[in-house]
């Protein structure tokens, strides 16, 4: 509906044009870029603040307690109270620490996780940087962030931090591969590495009401599942929060951090989560596309936001439920399960692509084969992975 766009949809464009009209031509590029950065920082900064609150609230509700509710109405001011507390706390640098790396780690982490926001299309007209190889840029920025985790773990000169650094490295090496492999099918189908092109390719509806999102195909669903699992691991969220495994390593790489540096780590974790969630929405959930045609009047960025929030809620939900894996199980899960599954998924998507021209009559067969290509390896490898584990029956002593 490009000809009849509601003004809400065009609101950001109108705003930018209004600002541009006031400025001389040479300054426009700079001002535009600055505006983009400021808006991204503002929106995601606020999202971060309220996400911490939402996480604590949801976690609390799941655990049958109300969560923070004292600061402000229902606790809405809690993030700001936390921020003030963090800012006013003493910043402790251990005497034996490597001061340069100790300082650089949180800064680098936040910088890298902020960089990845640049290429996500938040709406039809909301994209900071339309890059030809935007997806690659996104993962390049994300991959670098683990370096900062290593720096944090190593610089503290704390044994727990050191173990956490080792774990972070092992985890990154293991999960980078499935993460990259899981989005290759999307690239294969849409034929582009540009996020906006990928979103556009998911427009339209099957049979008039089923959205053509990637997640609603067999390979797309498998890719989405692998992507979500790997992004849980990439953003160090439970059940893959091994680097900061509280029950073993106290706080892992954060053990020697306090005050605002600690808050920066926290911020980077949430930024990373938001960025990966946003990328998952872009790649698999149709980006800013509305799920139904008649809902098109709602601006596209609202749809993006809703999908992103749903994914983030899922992250929180998983965190509230699942226990943590052990490091060897974590790497085994990546290498023996996710990577083969992602490779098989490439075959599936190849089949899907080649069979795209099958006539209507064979469509169910195409679906059946694709689903079988996804499900059978999943079941088989899942069985091998969990061999020897399972519920047990117990005997009772003779009376």
């Amino acid at each position: 509906m490009p000809h009849a766009e509601p003004w809400l949809e065009r609101a950001p464009l109108l705003l930018r044009d209004a600002v541009n009209a006031l400025l001389p031509a040479p300054a426009r590029w700079w001002v535009d870029s600055f505006l983009d950065i400021a808006v991204l920082l503002g929106v995601f900064g606020l999202l971060f603040a309220f996400l911490t609150l939402a996480e604590r609230k949801v976690l609390g509700r799941i655990q049958n307690r109300p969560g923070p509710n004292r600061a402000g109405w229902g606790g809405v001011l809690q993030p700001f109270a936390d921020g003030i507390k963090m800012l006013t706390k003493e910043d402790i640098v251990p005497r034996l620490a490597d001061p340069i790396l100790h300082f650089a780690a949180p800064v680098a982490l936040v910088a890298f996780s902020l960089m990845s926001f640049a290429v996500i299309p938040y709406g039809r007209h909301l994209l900071a940087l339309d890059m030809d190889s935007g997806v690659l840029y996104f993962f390049a920025a994300g991959a670098s962030s683990e370096l900062a985790v290593f720096m944090a773990g190593w610089s503290g000169r704390n044994k727990y931090s050191l173990l956490a650094a080792m774990r972070a490295l092992a985890q990154l090496i293991s999960y980078e591969l499935p993460l990259l492999l899981s989005f290759v099918p999307v690239v294969m189908i849409s034929g582009s590495l540009s996020p906006s092109a990928i979103v556009t390719a998911q427009g339209g509806w099957h049979l008039g009401f089923i959205p053509r999102w990637n997640v609603l195909t067999p390979w797309g669903f498998a890719g989405f599942a692998i992507f979500m699992v790997a992004s849980l691991a990439e953003s160090n969220r439970s059940p893959f929060d091994l680097p900061e495994a509280e029950s073993e390593l106290i706080a892992g790489h954060l053990t020697e951090y306090s005050g605002f540096k600690y808050a920066l780590f926290f911020m980077a974790e949430y930024f990373g989560m938001c960025a990966l969630g946003g990328m998952a929405v872009t790649l698999f959930l149709g980006g800013w596309q509305a799920p139904c045609a008649f809902l098109g009047f709602i601006p596209s960025y609202a749809w993006f936001g809703a999908k992103l929030l749903a994914l983030l809620l899922g992250f929180i939900w998983i965190r509230a439920t699942l226990p943590r894996l052990r490091i060897d199980q974590l790497t085994r899960f990546a290498w023996k399960f996710l990577v083969p599954l992602a490779l098989v998924n490439l075959v599936t998507v190849g089949f899907w692509h080649l069979s795209a021209s099958w006539s209507r009559g064979f469509d169910p067969l195409r679906w059946a084969i694709a689903i079988a290509l996804v499900v059978i390896p999943f079941v088989a490898m899942g069985r091998r992975l969990s061999a020897g584990l399972g519920p047990r029956t117990y005997r009772f002593a003779a009376q």
Partner: protein, 390 residues
């Protein structure tokens, strides 16, 4: 790495980072877990020597909570030790009370009225529910489950603590049993409330098991981790669910038949592998077995006095002699050994703490496992530092 760099770069004699030289494993990392560590269940300390993340040596260090419990028991009267037994294993004060009362009753030959026996069984089984629920919550917390199972466990525990509070006046430091009975009579109201809690507990257990027992991560974390052989368990004197998880049928409720336990019909579950999962499941199964005991006791409890009318509260001067009173506490055999020399104070007062004795095999279970396993193995041993250190 740290040790090497401190040697070279930072000549700090105050540094507590010490390299461990071991000709067979290269240079190892020695990590002092505790006494202040999120998962050592109090002020317990494990000095773990790590090769990578694998434990090659583990030295449990305890005594940070030593309070001279036994010596205090010898310098006060028999009655005055009763509130101190609450503080041994502060999750199971009712069973501690019972074991101590049993020891003293045996020493002075004091009978206990029927109603009090029933009340004791009810309280002991409630304590078992409480303790095992807490253990399951803590164990899953150690596995990294963000506190959710722990909060559910505490939600249920609260109901039992409320029962204890309305009966004895205190939630954890009950100080309820007396020599020859119990202090307060539970009225019909209390028994009805206990009945409600009992009936609701099965539902809670179902939900709790749905939450994590069938969970693949939980099974991967616990199955095959820290197996305890029956031989080692018997040799080390391990008792309680840990021993039964190793497959040894030994339950003092059946063996001694103290109190009125022979009247109850219950089964003793046994494990097969003796690993952490078995230890966890044994506790769940024992809770399920406790519910019928409670039901039967609540249904059959007779009217009558709660204290033996001839029982004396103070001024006890038992004849010279000795006695040992033991019961099947939630953590294992909790026993009190008393020697009297005819004075108002015991000549010898000795506790057999199940936590401490079960803890002695910690290193055997942890060797060759990772540091993450050590945490959950410790969690599955079920210790309370108040009892370990006394």
């Amino acid at each position: 790495m740290i040790e090497a760099s401190t040697d070279a770069l930072l000549p700090s004699p105050g540094s507590r980072v010490r390299p461990v030289r071991d000709p067979f494993h290269g240079d190892l990392l020695e990590v002092s877990m505790g006494p202040h560590h999120p998962s050592t269940h109090g002020v317990f300390r494990m000095v773990a020597t790590l090769d990578g993340e694998t434990i090659v040596r583990l030295k449990p260090v305890f005594g940070y909570l030593h309070r001279n419990h036994e010596k205090l028991g010898e310098s006060t009267t028999y009655l005055a030790s009763m509130p101190y037994t609450d503080r041994l294993d502060y999750l199971c004060s009712m069973t501690n009370n019972w074991a101590y009362a049993l020891a003293v009753e045996r020493l002075i030959g004091q009978p206990v009225p029927e109603r009090a026996e029933y009340v004791r069984v009810i309280l002991a089984e409630l304590t078992r529910l409480l303790n095992h629920t807490c253990l399951a919550g803590f164990l899953l917390q150690d596995c990294g489950a963000s506190g959710t199972p722990l909060m559910y466990a505490f939600r249920e525990r609260e109901k039992i603590l409320d029962l204890f509070e309305s009966l004895s006046g205190s939630r954890m430091m009950c100080n309820y049993q007396r020599f020859g009975g119990c202090r307060v009579d539970p009225g019909a109201h209390w028994l009805a409330a206990a009945s409600r809690v009992t009936e609701g507990y099965g539902r809670f257990l179902d939900e709790f098991e749905a939450l994590l027992t069938g969970n693949e991560i939980m099974m991967a974390r616990t199955q095959g981790v820290g197996p305890l052989s029956a031989k080692l368990a018997v040799a080390a004197g391990v008792t309680g669910p840990m021993l039964r998880a190793a497959g040894v049928a030994y339950d003092i409720r059946k063996v001694d038949g103290y109190g009125i336990y022979p009247r109850f019909n219950f089964r003793v579950p046994l494990g097969e592998h003796g690993d952490t999962y078995d230890r966890y499941m044994l506790r769940i199964l024992e809770m399920r077995e406790s519910i019928p005991i409670l039901r039967q006791a609540l249904a059959e409890i007779p009217a009558g006095p709660i204290m033996d009318p001839k029982a004396r509260l103070r001024g006890l001067r038992p004849k010279a002699g000795e006695s040992y009173g033991r019961i099947e506490g939630p953590k294992g055999e909790i026993g009190f050994y008393l020697v009297s020399d005819g004075t108002p104070n015991p000549y010898r007062y000795r506790v057999r703490p199940p936590s401490l004795i079960n803890l002695t095999i910690l290193e055997d279970l942890c060797l060759g496992r990772t540091i993450a396993d050590a945490v959950i193995i410790l969690g599955s041993v079920d210790i309370v530092l108040g009892e370990v250190d006394r």
